[in-house]
Amino acid sequence: MAAQIFAYIAHKSGKLDDSALELTTAAKKIDADASITAVVFGDAATADAAAAKAANTYKAVWKVADSALAYPNAELIRPMLAKLLPEGAILLLPTDSFGMDLGPGLAVKRNAAYIADAIDFEGAKDGKLVAHRQEYAGQVYAKVEANLSGGAVITCRPGAFAADEAGGAGGAVEDKSADAGPVPAAKRKFIEVVEAEVGDVDITKSDVLVSIGRGIESQDNLEIAFDLAKAIGADVSCSRPIVDAKWLEKSRQVGTSGQTVKPKVYMALGISGAFQHLGGIKGNPFMLAINKNPKAPIFQVADVGVVGDILEIMPELTEKVTEMKG
């Protein structure tokens, strides 16, 4: 029997997240014959808008609308999905702050298998599904097999599955609000979204970024990166560990939980290249990576790479460039 796959459509006030078009590709990889249904939650206006857009890609769209769902609070949506989805269904979610919030608990409530952050599928067969994922900060790949007897909840990595841009599906939107409702009383209330603070340098506007990661080793070494940036006329950005250590302000962090940058040249210095970091680099810049670890994932995406210690190479670069400029 073909699988029944549901794609959770993430949206912001009715505007679809990129994952909305990627999950249909993921679903087809699981089972080319699957019935794929988009599920949209929101308040009346945003659910309508998102459902209408999803219907361009999905032949079937289930809409759940309530004024309490204006903001996607996983604690409200989880019990509603648990009730709404048919037995044995596979639900796909994006691997993001919402999917991570919703998914694991939903799998428990539905007695379903949970696969986190899938990057590929080998296809469902005999009630089992093999998925590919990464472990150890992207250094290692693993194949996992999920038992589908109770269905599955799967988060899919953003960008790992091609967006289905075909459109024209002419899908039918079905209002499932009554089946999923009523909205339960939640013990967690959404209050507000606090926007990121703007720092003294706007790295989203930089043409050239000297971006540093763990390889910088200590706060005192930051100067070496700033010297290089000054010499070549770049700005300094960084990966998450540098901000976690409070060495640089959050506004300099590149990644899905930081800033999205679109430079012409990106120098990834001592950055391993976790997908959350790469997710913040858009516009296909020329990328140079320097890292001590020859197996660092960053070398898979960089144009040019050097295996080496940034603390040795950066000062030499600065010196040579300064010399050259006279």
């Binding site: 150890y136 996992v144 209050i191 050239v208 770049a234 070398f299 898979q300």
Partner: protein, 262 residues
Amino acid sequence: MEILVCVKRVPDTAENEIAVKADGTDIVRDDVVYSVNEWDNYAVEEAIQIRDNVGGTVTVVSVGDAESEEIIRREMAMGADTGVLLSDSAFEGSDGLGVATILKSFVDKGKYDLILTGALADDGAGQVGGMLAALLDLPYASVVNKIEVKGDKLLVGREIEGGNQEMNEISLPCVLSIQTGINEPRYVGIRGIRKVASLEIPCDGKDACGLDAGIIGAAGAKVKRLTYFVPELGEGAEMIEGSTEEQVEKVIEILKAKGGIK
């Protein structure tokens, strides 16, 4: 406030190059440096700070092998009040639900207002906190990067996309998964480690936890790791070889050509 923090001993990815064994059954574990999972360490620091502000105790629990004792000790050297190891050969091969089920059996024996886990660990799944919350029927918030105690509720910030923070009010008891950067974990010196070196860490097995093999262990797992593998990747970066001096010259040449030097 009675706080429980779930911690895991993991290969330290900042210190190790992780490689796959030729037969794909495991990663190469010789010479691998282990440490407490980075996210869990932030969770323990947060728990200690909350306890120091409002009173109570911090208990650290780990599901793992006998060597996990060392990270429990380390977190006690940081300031956790008690530590317990949950270890049994029957636990091996447990999936996320199995681990959450083992932890639940421990939670059920105590009375905790707040349960913390790391948002992620070495397997990159980020699943145990959310599963534990669901098993316990408690409210949950993931990727938490701010906690403020407000009577019988907490004000929690979640790290969402774009560097933004989602503020929520959550009632106690609850389960939170903690994101790195929420605080600055204190340094644990050799003297601190020495102080706890001789502490007895209680260890509960399957029977003490009151568990049967239905969900835990490899047999109970709904999700199994079949193999590690090395994917066929693209060519990747063009690598610049040579002496440091040669590499530097080549890098400058390339940067100039690509407009990276202004």
